[in-house]
């Protein structure tokens, strides 16, 4: 059997192949990625682009949850303050309803109740990053503004709507309770009870003051019960934040198993490619030198 006397073409193609392998191994080690362009692994690349979108979503949900949590915590502390103010009002009302208190005593108590009313309205107008916490879904205006024509002295500018903040692919939490539910509810109006008590203290009988005080107790109980809504939201958000951080870990481990390399294997591949490249080159240098003419002298 005759052999191909011209070995150069084969030698060149061997060297090229070995250098290509070396380059691929080097790229994997230097980028830490097995897939550097779609053709390296089309299905992994496609899956990777979807995973990246999921990761971006998880990041956004985490940011939403963080912001929703701050909002809920602020609302929660506002309601805590309102509850404590209402407790003060109940104490003051009970004191005013006492038959021993004089008209001037009642006047000064009425002033205090007016002060509490102003404080509660101030709290009800709390904003968070420009959003009125208790204005429903209306933005850009204060939830309550002073209005002499209103029996409570204040008008609600918001609406009855509730915003849901999405913090997961299929989870959203209630972000707000409208001021109309919390403060001017027909059955247990905080503002109505407070202004009623102030009026009763100024001009009413002990019995009327007592009735007005018990209306405040009703409003107090109602606000306390609504308080639980925020507690619930905070709990949900805390557990969702934990879930999202776990999800993030899971996704990034999926990412690295999809397109990443095992550092040890890649390093081994690289040194193997280097070794095979230098042996190919060494072999080529030897084989080309031989010729019969070298010996025919």
């Amino acid at each position: 059997m005759r052999f191909n006397p011209s070995i150069n073409a084969a030698v060149t193609s061997d060297i090229q192949q070995s250098e290509q392998a070396l380059q691929a191994a080097y790229q994997q080690v230097s980028t830490g990625l097995r897939v550097n362009q779609p053709s390296d692994d089309p299905s992994a690349s496609a899956a990777y682009s979807q995973l990246q979108a999921q990761v971006a979503n998880v990041d956004q949900y985490t940011s939403n949850a963080g912001s929703a949590l701050s909002q809920a915590q602020l609302s929660d502390s506002v309601l805590t303050s309102v509850v404590s103010l209402l407790n003060q009002a109940v104490t003051l009302g009970t004191e005013g309803a006492n038959g021993t208190s004089s008209a001037s005593d009642r006047q000064s108590i009425a002033t205090k109740i007016q002060g509490i009313l102003t404080s509660v309205v101030g709290l009800a107008n709390t904003t968070f990053q420009g959003i009125s916490l208790f204005g429903g879904t209306v933005s850009g205006t204060q939830a309550f503004t002073a209005d002499a024509t209103s029996p409570t002295g204040y008008t609600y500018n918001g609406n009855d709507s509730v915003n849901q903040i999405s913090v997961g692919d299929s989870l959203s939490v209630q972000a707000n309770i409208p001021g109309s539910t919390l403060f001017t509810n027909a059955n247990a109006s905080v503002l109505g009870a407070l202004s009623g008590l102030a009026t009763a203290l100024q001009s009413g009988t002990s019995a009327q003051i007592g009735t007005a005080t018990s209306a405040i107790t009703t409003a107090l109980n109602y606000v306390t019960s609504q308080h639980a809504v925020y507690g619930n939201t905070i709990n949900q958000l805390n557990s969702q934040e934990t879930y999202l951080s776990q999800e993030k870990v899971t996704l990034s481990s999926q990412e690295s198993s999809l397109v990443g390399i095992d550092a040890a294997t890649a390093a081994e591949d690289l040194s193997q490619a280097e070794e095979s490249n230098s042996s190919v080159l060494a072999a080529a240098a030897k084989v080309i030198q031989n010729s019969l003419l070298t010996y025919l002298q």
Binding site: P5, V259, L292, L296
Partner: protein
């Protein structure tokens, strides 16, 4: 009848035979590195013996001729594989460029899409934030320009590919003219068939170059080689060549016409021309169609979701994207209908801070569009499409290259010049020549002996 004269004649023939051997060897060595050269050998045979009564006497050597050592079947296989290889190569070159439009990291269609949806998701947190709304508009702008850029990146290579088609066709015409004139020379030489020497070498070179450009069929005959295209249109018949021509069709693509003006573009399946046409007419349009479909369905669905809500001013949500009604060209034409941040229809009830419609807008990321696939899945699918096309072409190119190397090696083992072999042969012929010269020398001294005999008497 044996005589000194006939011995002298045999020795002279022998000298001539060895001279021819030496010359052929010399020619082989001289062409050891000539591309396409096929080594030649001298065929010698015993001359017809003469009969002297019952004795048969050898009559020396006779020269039958010089022939090239080649395997015609192997040559055909090499030409075929060369065709496939050039086609794969052309696809790899074009697709690798297109592939850079879909990077695995950094800004891509997928990442722009994802950023757009996360910016919308941020609105769920604070629908009245102008900054957040501005971010949505900006990411929508980035998404639109991704669509525009990729569409341009897909349509851009077409002009380059068209000029490749034109230049390939003019090269084919040059080569077929060359083949026809080689056929003519072969005819004059009257030595068609397998051992056609240097002209055969050149013809086979020209055919391999043609095969690298397009798929051809070669038939050997006494009039030389007939060459036809994949569709059977003749390119070379005897000493006549038929030129291909090009024309530009309505969509601006260069089409290939045979000598009678028929469009044979779709029958060209391999070679550089075949690979180029495949990328231009099949692969790029399919990618572009996927992109256009995604752009069109996504924009339409998003505009519909916008319409179900209210913008920040309490007006019914207007379209955010401007998109043509037809799918074709959607990715190139998609644009933002407005850059007003208040136009995002986040609210479901018309209240300025409401976010009730945000969920509907973000749902488009994962809910199926008209094609049955979500926007994210469709954009991932595009990545898969281009990746898989490039990978297939690369794998083909590598494996065909290997088989081509093996075939070339085999051809080299049959037709290649080994300087070692030729050197050894040279020693052999040198010795045979010296021996024949010695015979003449001996006969001369025998003649002298005979003449001396006569003179002495």
């Amino acid at each position: 009848m044996a005589s000194l004269n006939s011995s002298l004649a045999i020795a002279t023939q022998s000298l001539q035979a060895q001279e021819l051997e030496i010359q052929t060897t010399n020619n082989n060595i001289a062409n050891a590195n000539t591309a396409g050269y096929t080594r030649e050998t001298v065929t010698l045979s015993e001359a017809t013996p003469s009969q002297d009564g019952s004795v048969t006497i050898g009559n020396g050597v006779s020269i039958d001729g010089v022939s090239s050592v080649r395997d015609q079947l192997l040559t055909l296989q090499i030409q075929q594989q060369t065709s496939e290889q050039s086609s794969a190569e052309a696809q790899v070159n074009a697709l690798s460029q297109i592939q850079t439009l879909f990077p695995s990291s950094g800004a891509s269609l997928s990442s722009s899409l994802s950023t757009f949806f996360t910016s919308l998701s941020a609105l769920s947190d604070n629908a009245s934030s102008t900054a957040d709304r501005e971010t949505v508009i900006q990411s929508a702008q980035a998404l639109v320009s991704q669509f525009n850029t990729i569409s341009a990146g897909l349509t851009g290579p077409a002009s380059g590919l068209n000029s490749t088609v034109s230049s390939d066709v003019s090269q084919i015409n040059q080569l077929t003219a060359q083949a026809a004139s080689l056929n003519h020379e072969l005819g004059q030489q009257g030595s068609g068939g397998q051992n056609s020497g240097p002209i055969g070498d050149q013809l086979s070179q020209v055919e391999t170059q043609l095969a690298a450009l397009t798929n051809i069929t070669v038939t050997h005959s006494s009039q030389g080689d007939s060459i036809t295209t994949g569709s059977g249109t003749p390119l070379v018949l005897g000493n006549q060549s038929y030129a291909l021509s090009t024309t530009t069709n309505s969509s601006g693509n260069v089409q290939v016409l045979d000598q009678s003006g028929n469009d044979i573009t779709s029958t060209i399946s391999s070679g550089d021309l075949g690979g180029t046409i495949k990328v231009r007419d099949t692969q790029i349009p399919s990618l572009l169609n996927s992109l256009d479909t995604l752009a069109n369905q996504f924009a339409t669905a998003f505009n519909a979701a916008q319409a179900s809500g209210y913008d920040q001013n309490g007006n019914a949500g207007a379209a955010l994207f401007t998109i043509p009604t037809t799918v074709a060209g959607s990715a190139a034409a998609i644009s933002l209908a407005t850059t007003d941040p208040t136009a995002i229809a986040a609210s479901s009830d018309g209240s300025s801070g409401g976010n009730g419609n945000v969920a509907k807008l973000t749902a488009l990321q994962t809910s199926p569009l008209a094609s049955g696939q979500s926007a994210t899945a469709q954009s991932a699918n595009l990545v898969y499409q281009i990746g898989s096309l490039t990978q297939t072409a690369t794998t083909n190119s590598t494996s065909i290259q290997q088989s081509l190397t093996a075939l070339n090696n085999q051809q080299g083992s049959i037709s290649g010049v080994s300087t070692d072999e030729e050197s050894a042969d040279l020693i052999q012929y040198q010795q045979a020549y010296e021996a024949a010269a010695k015979v003449i020398n001996t006969i001369q001294s025998l003649f002298e002996t005979t003449i001396d005999m006569v003179v002495q008497n």
